[in-house]
Symmetry: D2
Subunit: 467 residues, 4 copies
């Protein structure tokens, strides 16, 4: 998973704004971050492993003057092959034009699109989707002497998958999105000062920008200057069969997005509360003494659950938020992520109590198992685990870093086996039906990770590593 930012301003401090915007999106990617900035004459790029506040201290920002720019944060990846794949990607044409791209989402026909380009001499340095998008656009600009907007439209017609993307030239900023609107992206206005595009609206908030709206699926917004922008659709320049429905990623609302963001026409916190209520509604047989979350990801679900039950939400696990440098050896990382270091159950809290623990989802099931055991040890009488999503049974091809089908515990154990593995007194998932009732337009959402209904099948040879 990744986060993106773009900005175009009346002032030359784009780098500082991008840094702050990326800081607000740090939860979308903690491995590496980068930005490309334009001062009107040329583009400068800087990207590095590390957290935003580490990679971009003031002294570095000072070396990146510019009125416009794009930025990116990137999630920890697993494989060695992915190591040099950070964004943005930069292209400089001899004749002057320069481009930079930052994108969030996976391309499912990555290989065939790259092959098209490679067949026409476009070479690649990495396996990164962002590089594909950058070169695709450059190719259509250079080959057909197209304007950037036509090149982008061509890209949207050709490239299939999830992409919420910002594209920077020396004097303009573009933002566009795949026709299904899989990943979030919206834009806002800093009063009299300029535009900001961001994966999540919490980034607009930190910059004091007034959110305008999401970039529409298939839309291309052209920010011509700090106070001018226009919008077109990828279908404006050629035939294309537009998708009949949107396919927003439901998992963004369940887990990934920050609860204070507004995404896909929904307040994230509100959807999560609805999920909690919905879980409670189906839980009539249980009268818990306490309802707790696993902080912070299921806080609002637990709040919703407790609200419905009218018994009051409780905080029963303390989470340690201190982290150090990100460059740890693998063994250390494992140890660092040990549940005991991160979560501590309150003493004297659970004794003799019947507890509902709400979690957002189960992927491998190992963390929640350790937490349930830790709570049990403090004297809880019963632990009832409620999951704010249906079982995750299918990998995501559009940008969420889920493991293979085999590693998903819901494919390995039935409900009773899983309950026993975790050690809970009962275990219930949110039903697909109920999930739908928690969002305004369920038909607009991709739920492939739950039901395997992929709107876009990946090509043969698709590998999750070229994200």
């Amino acid at each position: 998973m990744c986060g993106i930012i773009g900005t175009i301003l009346s002032t030359r401090n784009a780098a500082e704004k991008i840094m702050l915007g990326l800081f607000a999106e740090q939860h979308r990617g903690q491995e590496s971050c980068g930005m490309a900035v334009s001062d009107g004459k040329s583009l400068q790029l800087r990207k590095e492993m590390g957290l935003v506040k580490e990679v971009f201290p003031q002294a570095i920002l000072d070396t990146l003057p510019g009125f416009a720019g794009v930025g990116h944060v990137r999630y920890p990846t697993r494989g060695k092959n992915c190591e040099s794949n950070s964004q943005p990607h930069l292209i400089k044409l001899l004749s002057g034009p320069s481009f930079a791209v930052a994108s969030n989402g996976d391309i499912v026909n990555y290989k065939s699109r790259r092959k098209l380009l490679e067949d026409d001499n476009v070479f690649f340095e990495s396996d990164n989707d962002g590089e594909l998008l950058a070169k695709f656009i450059a190719y259509y600009i250079v080959r057909r002497n197209n304007s950037p907007e036509i090149a982008i439209a061509e890209l949207i017609r050709n490239v299939r998958g999830a992409f919420s993307t910002v594209f920077l030239t020396r004097d303009q900023l573009y933002a566009f999105r795949d026709p299904w609107g899989i990943r979030p992206v919206s834009f806002g206005r800093i009063n009299g000062k300029g535009w900001v595009v961001a994966s999540e609206s919490c980034s607009l908030d930190i910059l004091g920008a007034k959110s305008q709206r999401e970039i529409e699926p298939g839309e291309i917004v052209i920010f011509e200057s700090y106070n001018k922008c226009k919008t077109i659709r990828y279908t404006d320049f050629g035939e294309a069969v537009e998708p009949q429905s949107r396919r927003h990623c439901i998992f963004e609302l369940i887990y990934f997005a920050r609860p204070d963001s507004y995404e896909f026409g929904e307040y994230v916190w509100n959807v999560q509360k609805q999920i909690g209520s919905s879980l409670a509604k189906d839980d009539k047989e249980i009268n818990p003494d306490l309802v707790i979350s696993i902080p912070d990801s299921s806080n609002f679900m637990a709040l919703g659950y407790a609200d419905f039950k009218k018994i009051g939400f409780d905080i029963g696990l303390l989470r340690n938020h201190y982290v150090g440098r990100t460059f740890l050896k693998p063994e250390q990382r494992i140890r660092d992520e040990a549940v005991r270091q991160k979560f501590n159950p309150l003493k004297g809290y659970f004794k003799g109590k019947k507890i509902v623990v709400v979690d957002d989802s189960i992927v491998r099931g190992t963390t929640v198992r350790k937490i349930v055991r830790a709570i049990k040890k403090t004297g809880a009488k019963e632990i009832h685990l409620r999951i704010g999503s249906p079982p995750v049974k299918f990998p995501c091809y559009y940008g969420i870093d889920t493991p293979t089908r085999e590693e998903l515990v819901a494919n390995q154990k039935n409900l009773e086996e899983l309950r026993e593995f975790i050690g809970a007194n009962s275990l219930k998932y949110l039903s697909m039906e109920n999930l739908k009732s928690c969002v305004k337009h369920p038909e607009n959402f991709c739920q492939a990770c739950f039901n395997g209904d992929y709107i876009l099948e990946p090509e043969a040879g698709f590998s999750k590593c070229n994200k």
Copy 2:
């Protein structure tokens, strides 16, 4: 403020345990950290600026073999004079014995005690209380050929102030505490493996240690080996007028300690909930739509308030927990601490609502003011601010980093002026009376920051900087 750790084990991995224990106490001090470890022959010291996980990666821990040790985390200080004052402090005697000390708390007769030692040729490298304690003990061991326990008893008789301290020799670990028990410290047992002493019980939890109890005020616990310990009192070796009452720091329970810690015979979370209930009980005229905290410090107070009102606690502010390196330039620090970077109010949450915001205390009032304004901007109808403590009017001489009397806003504005400054529709503090009702033995607590009733007046010339 600071946090301490001590351990003595059957195995040689004391450094790793100390690192983990300090990690759990990181909230007590984020400026510097250090540890001294004994392998039975000599003591090794390492201390540095930075967070625990940065200063003590595995590669460094590997260079610190030992079965016993003491550790320390230290709070950001303000003045230049304090910069080289990190702990532990180490003393090596030519004849073999070596000592290390880590302590939490301020000494109010620091100057006169140091003068006594200086008059007898003991020299100092820093202005740190920990160095005073280390040298005081060494002085009594060497001068009078005393045992460490007698030296420690002498220290407790002589030095006045707050000190929860661990003292390491080449083969034993000691833990002791001032006769008023101002700062917390407890100890626990890792089954069959050894002892752990820690400022807070959450440190014992992370180490899998079973908490035994607090070190008593005036008590000296001697951990002779991983499975033997004995206890004495400072009055065992000489006359001394013991204080008639304890003076635990009430502010630990209100703000400083982690809610999952058990301190002063109280579950911290529980006291904070009681405070919340107590605030609600006196708030009959208000029927709020929402009750929120300022995360995470007033979470449990808000929970208590909401519980009493039976209206359900809510999370209305999102907090960004990502932090980078700690070595920031002053201007950056200020900017980093900007409220907007740290807290974001949920959109669509407060619109038209009557909200109770619970905070733990008001020191300068600037942060809560910005938060109240930010919530107002999202459309809240009314904001009622409730403070989980009486007005902070007096500086702390025993280790809390409060500003001078003049800088405390409660000394500058009356309640109505302060309400207006903050921009809340109403403002109420917890009364002294109600605060007392929230702990089992109110007579055991120091409340000097609220009432100016200092059990130990600082000497003339006492400076808060030698902490």
Copy 3:
């Protein structure tokens, strides 16, 4: 200026060999370094600002397993535009093949060649010659389905300028050189273990490789495995007018190469000694008491001068070799390079003496001026400055980092003015005639920096910054 390394081995420790080889070539570039390594399946790249021993500690080498690789060190550049231009450059084809290129030398038709590629959709990330070479080769492989050797031959036919280059695929290593042989490159054999290609033979020495010979101008050597190699010429695959003569860079022998290297059929130390003798031969009127060098660059010239005069060489200036990190602020760099920090004249050495100071060349004249003044201050009676090369009057277009024509002091002052500026009692340059007598085949050398006779005129718009 830059240095390159390539290796193909029977073992998987190519990274360590490349690191050592680069270490021996550190004098050719101290700004950044990098390497690309193949394990037979894929190529891994790592490049960073800093010295070789800093960028490639053992822990990093351990993450770069591979049996073959290429490496690069790069000289400090001045302009901001050059900052992200480090080498090697990597290209990965979807169908499997991957390439990496490291090159030394400047391309004078860089712009038109890049335009050719750009016109056919090949995009660039940097202004670096190495990227041009990498993409040119990839283009000819992919477009015409050519073998790497034919693509390289095509490159040599098309690209004009200086290039001593290594090219890595997943299983083979190639080394080639422009038809004029402007920059050095030779190869050697590690007995029974593999091949090494290096800018200078001192790199072969450090690796225990037995030097075989130079790569010939226009030659392509294909290292098929650790014990097989074959050679072709770029003319084997198509018509081409081969240059009638070589144009080795004479400045390599005068200044750039390490004296222990064997380059262009000459022992560098030996040429420098010949130069010294030649200077002395024309200096009959002078009977110096002392002959000194400016360490370490003119040591052998001074030795040659002293030998001829039969008066014994002397060391009169001490040089401080300690350097710290390379990331210094500009102002510091200037200060660091202050002559007084680097050179100290011996006290009591020059008093009343008539001294010949031999330097290798004069570019701006400011350093030698400070040194002459410092020696004067110690009491020298006369200082006669002898320069081991003709006046540098023309910029180099083939890779040496000389300033513009205007900044070359030899274009600003006549001999007498320059002598006075420097403060020497006399000043003599080596004559062009004499320079020729110091190498075996003077007709094989480019001396454009002295006589402006450029074999390859740069294109309009050629900028020294795309090096």
Copy 4:
């Protein structure tokens, strides 16, 4: 071994001067460095592992304003026990006075002196001689209410061993030296701006200071302000039997000092040349074709040898001066110090030649052995090794980091065995007699490492590690 600096100025940039002075003394210690600076009100200390230019970049110097200060560089030590022993040492008295000490040299009655202090309650943090000196002085100032000069005089009367020391108070700088003058230290004047004290005169040169003279053995120089200084002797304040002769360390002139320094009344380069001549004088039977040094330590000895033989000095080995960070793992360090990485014999230079190699001394014999072999491999006919000092048979107790008696190869092999071990055709040492002829006052020198004649026997229990 270590180097020291002290300065007192009319301006507030003492830190920058100390940094530069330490940079010139970097050869005396590369492990750690530090400085203490006074702004007239208080002393600030900063010390860290690393090279001077790394530890003290401009940004750090800017945080150390002050008009006076002392600095220190420290040599790599071997044992774990020595790790936290860097200098300067700081003492702050409650009543105001503060002191800092930096010293070069070992104290042979360290233990008994420390015991005296410890018996009177003075405690130690390290095993460092500098801390002993700092506390000794503080003790005499505080205990007897003495002036610093009397305390220093007392110290010189009591402490035996080598110490060239600078002592800083809040407003004055003191420099003093043991009565035998074992280690060098001199002082100079920056015209109208202040004083500088330094281990070596090359430090004065880099600061533009005019050298005044050495601090005399037993002398205490008090720099009262930037333009006032006075001098006393330790015997001025009490009886003391002054040593009848000096005992300057002869090894400083042979190996340790920079050749451009003036030490012990001798130009270091000149003594080394004399040594070379002396070796040649006794070498009548040999007519070498070449005379080379092992750069850079025996350059001047080889020059002297060649001069005498009138055959011209040659440079036959190239030395690689690039070094990276100093924090290397032990194994790497070993590898880094591999002879092949550091020295490369010129190719085509030695073929068929009879060579004299001059080295300054033999300690373990392993490095010279590898060099001799490497030269042999290049085709040398004969290699005659000449050593510019007598056999090193005895450890140094006064500050040179020689190994134990058993590790000194001259105690393990006789001359013929050693010659064979090294692989030279002949091997000759400088005789004691000849060594004496190379300095003006041989009776003033300690030659204990050659003849075991220790002026000061170390106490029982003396360990070389408390340096």
